[in-house]
Assembly symmetry: C2
Homo-oligomer: 243 residues x 2
């Protein structure tokens, strides 16, 4: 069943006009006809069944029918990633959406591999992945900030899973499951391909709530590390623990 | 430091002649000169320091110098993946090498997405990833077999982490860490994008040593599921637990 993320409010009897790109996808790629069923979500009103009610030149109209799932969010976990090359950054955003990150925050580090990110494109990737993975929200993609500023303004209630390649951090699972006061939320920090500088490592470890972790004895690419860290976090503390 | 996987035996004073592709990489891509240092491994004799001793037309000679690390293998874990589209299969092989799988076994399932795999290319990807990730062996890529045959010939001493999207399996971490007799080894089974058929699911669950697991409430692409499952397994039972 096709799932479409839309900006409009969703309520029974409502009408939704998809964007031209979405209309093209529905009519020409998926070849839907009038009467075809699909699912809509907007990140606010849950998931709704809908039908194609009319098809025009380069556009279509959707009629909202009935609620399917009530709105719910995943756990409060941000993925903070250093600017890496475009292809790997796009993989990271796709996988963050699949793995349930609430936000993806880009940070500029001393050994950053890339200076610019196309936020519109990353947002489109996040939407498409959210549509396919079945979640009811789309992770927010936050414009790049300097790592130093992010750390200086750190919210003391949010814990930081600091993926520290440089050596002596404890194993991720043990560190995450060690008893600690409940956190208001979490963030997972992944460095650039060249790693964090020694000064950056020290500042990350000094953050209130920092949990330095190791992801094993092998060197991981940034995208692998991001997926691995999200998976271990979701298993230990997130919504992969079951109900 | 450049790491190169070679077929030759490695011993102090030995000579190694890289393949033409490797020579091209060393001389023209990395622009090594005579006297430049690199690391060699062959999956049998550990890791050795070496130097470029001569450069000819489209070839070079390497002199093996001293042992750096003794041979060691990662944990005995196979990644068994259904045939999926080429691009995703290549990602899976790259990540399996980074994440420490000992073997990658391809299986043909009822809802397979692709009929043919280029084993030479997958092997080259595995070698390059092994070189970059720092491991001392290269995961073996095993030609596709029918899933039914793999299950029928299952080694009763090997446990099977069966990543079961279809619903009622327990959370992965809880299932992996539930007390059980020690296993001789493990395998992780990832299905095709269309999922396993009901008959396949039943057969997977009936295997001696099968551990059905859930990877959370969202639908994961095959490559995401493979990386996630490897990461959770390594954290719970593999060499990410630390020493």
């Amino acid at each position: 069943m096709i799932r479409l993320f839309v900006g409009d409010d969703l309520k029974a009897g409502g009408q939704v006009v998809p964007s031209p790109e979405q209309a093209h996808y529905l009519i020409h790629v998926m070849r839907l006809s009038v009467g075809a069923e699909l699912l809509l979500f907007n990140g606010r009103h849950g998931e709704w069944s809908a039908k194609v009610v009319s098809i025009g030149k380069g556009r279509c109209d959707l009629g909202v029918e009935a609620p399917v799932r009530a709105q719910s969010g995943g756990p409060d976990v941000d993925l903070i990633v250093a600017m890496v090359k475009r292809a790997r950054l796009e993989v990271i955003v796709e996988k963050a959406a699949e793995l349930g990150a609430r936000r993806v925050r880009l940070v500029i580090t001393q050994r950053a591999n890339a200076g610019h990110a196309n936020l519109a494109r990353l947002n489109a990737i996040a939407i498409e992945a959210a549509e396919q993975t079945g979640r009811l929200d789309v992770p927010e993609i936050c414009a790049a900030q300097k790592l130093d500023r992010v750390l200086a303004e750190w919210d003391a209630g949010r814990r930081l899973m600091f993926c520290d390649e440089a050596g002596d951090a404890p194993p991720a699972l043990a560190a995450l499951t060690a008893p600690a006061a409940p956190a208001l939320g979490w963030a997972i920090l992944i460095g650039p391909e060249g790693g964090f500088s020694p000064a950056e490592r020290a500042r990350c470890r000094a953050v209130a709530g920092a949990v330095p972790v190791s992801l094993g004895p092998r060197i991981l690419r940034a995208d692998t590390a991001a997926i691995a860290a999200m998976s271990v976090w979701q298993s230990a503390l997130g919504d992969w623990r079951g109900t």
